[in-house]
Structure formats: C-alpha cells, structure tokens
Symmetry: C2
Subunit: 149 residues, 2 copies
C-alpha cells in the first residue's frame, strides 16, 4: 500500500510540474516572440505550414482549433506581411492552398533557434549524461502522450 501511495504521490507531483512547466514554456515562448514580427498564433500557424507543407485554410483551422474566420484573419495579416501566400491547387484550381514563403520560413527557423538557445542556457549547469537522461525521459512521456491522442 505504501508503494501505491508513493507512486500516486509521484504522479501527482508530475502533474504539478508539467502544469507549471507549460506555463513557463508558454511565457518564455512569448518573450522570445517579442523579438520577432509575429504573434503567438501566427507562430503556431507557421509551424504547421513548415512541418506539413501547403494546406487549405480549413485544414489549418482544424489543426489550430480556431474558427475559420479567425484563421482567415490570421492568414490575411501574414499574407500582407509576405510570410505566406495563397496559391491555386494544381489538381483542382477551385481550391486555394496556403504556401509558406522564404520570409516566413526564415522567421520560424530563427524563433526555433532562439528557443534552442534558451534551452541550452538553462542546461549549462547540468552535465551531458544528465541532459541525455532528461531527454530520454521526456521523450518516453511524449511518446506515451502521443499514443493516447
């Protein structure tokens, strides 16, 4: 019984840590974005286009859990800033796809680089073996979370 309680305590504390760590990651992400000409939802949209390639506004709305009209506003703003463009689908000219432009790609690469630098800076006092162990642990947790999706 003691072991069961101890395991539950560990899981309870893990929930607390993950909840608080997510807040820090979100806040740090917002701080980093202040040095770039994009907003947090724009960063999320650019990530999707960067990882999955061209897609319609409908597809992007679904992935971002946003209303179609909200996503359209987001795309309009980024199109006028030349981060992306609307293009006609080659297979079906009636379909409009969103395509990431070089300027958008450059911004997302730079933001990710800044996030990596932040992570490196907080890990300076931790030795390489421990960093690998932390990586492997959070990777196990990430894999378990993905299986549940």
């Amino acid at each position: 019984m003691a072991d069961v309680n101890q395991l539950q305590e560990t899981i309870n504390d893990m929930e607390f840590i993950l909840r608080k760590m997510s807040v820090i990651i979100k806040q740090k992400g917002r701080e980093i974005l202040q040095n770039f000409p994009i907003t947090p939802p724009q960063f999320v949209a650019l990530q999707w286009l960067n990882e999955e390639g061209d897609m319609t506004i409908g597809d992007l709305s679904n992935k971002m859990y946003l209303a179609f009209s909200t996503t359209t506003d987001l795309i309009d703003r980024m199109e006028s800033n030349q981060l992306l463009e609307r293009i006609r689908d080659n297979k079906d000219r009636r379909v409009v796809q969103i395509h990431l432009l070089d300027k958008g790609k450059k911004i997302i690469d730079d933001v990710i680089e800044a996030r990596r630098n932040y992570l490196s800076s907080i890990l300076t006092d931790i030795n390489d073996e421990q960093i690998t162990a932390i990586h492997d642990s959070i990777n196990s947790l990430f894999e378990a979370m993905k299986q549940d999706l």
Copy 2:
C-alpha cells in the same frame, strides 16, 4: 567535436519535444475543462487564488499577464457563478481582495484530479522505476527553468 554536435542534437530534439508536448498538455487540459463550468483563463485565475490566497485584481492581472479590464471581466463572471467573491481588506478597507469560495475550490480540486487521472492513464505501460526516473528528470528541468526566471 562529435560529442558537441551530439549534445546539440539532443538539445534540439528536447526543444522540439517540449514544444509539441506543451501543445498536447494545453489541448488535453482544454478537453478536461469541457467537463467543468469554467474556461481555461478562469482555471488559471482559480489556480493563482488557490495557491497564493486572496489578492487584488491588479495582482492577479500581473500574474496572468492580462489587462486589468480583461481580468475584471473574468472576475465578474466567476463572482456571478459563486466561484469567488470580492471582500474588503481588513487592514485597509479601501482595498478590494478576491477570495476563492468553496465552489471554486471544489472545481479546481476536481480539475486537478482529472489531470492526474489522465497522467496515470498514459503511464500504465511504464513501470514504477521508470515513472520515478521520468519524474526526477522533468523535475531537474523544471528547477533549471525556475532558476532562470
């Protein structure tokens, strides 16, 4: 040099995992909240009141990185739902503090319980020793992040 590159690869992958895991945690948190009569920002506000006790709307605005008027709207809605109440500060009657009510406390406890259950469910295939190792790893990372704040 190979080791330096390998460490950088590990950190790059860790950045990716943390970014994606935060999205899953946020989305899962939203799903859990759909079973409760509060919104995500209301959950954040209730957490602050639960952890730090009574505070003014100004203090809460700062902690939540929200405009004063946005926080006031949030508090108005939760006060009409009897999750919290405005009370006069005993030391300075001109100051209004926000006080968590039993109904608000019950909701936040239930939400946290649901989050713990989610975490337990995704960890079922991982043995106790590994769960402890994952806990300790993310705790090291959390401590390193807190030192940087």
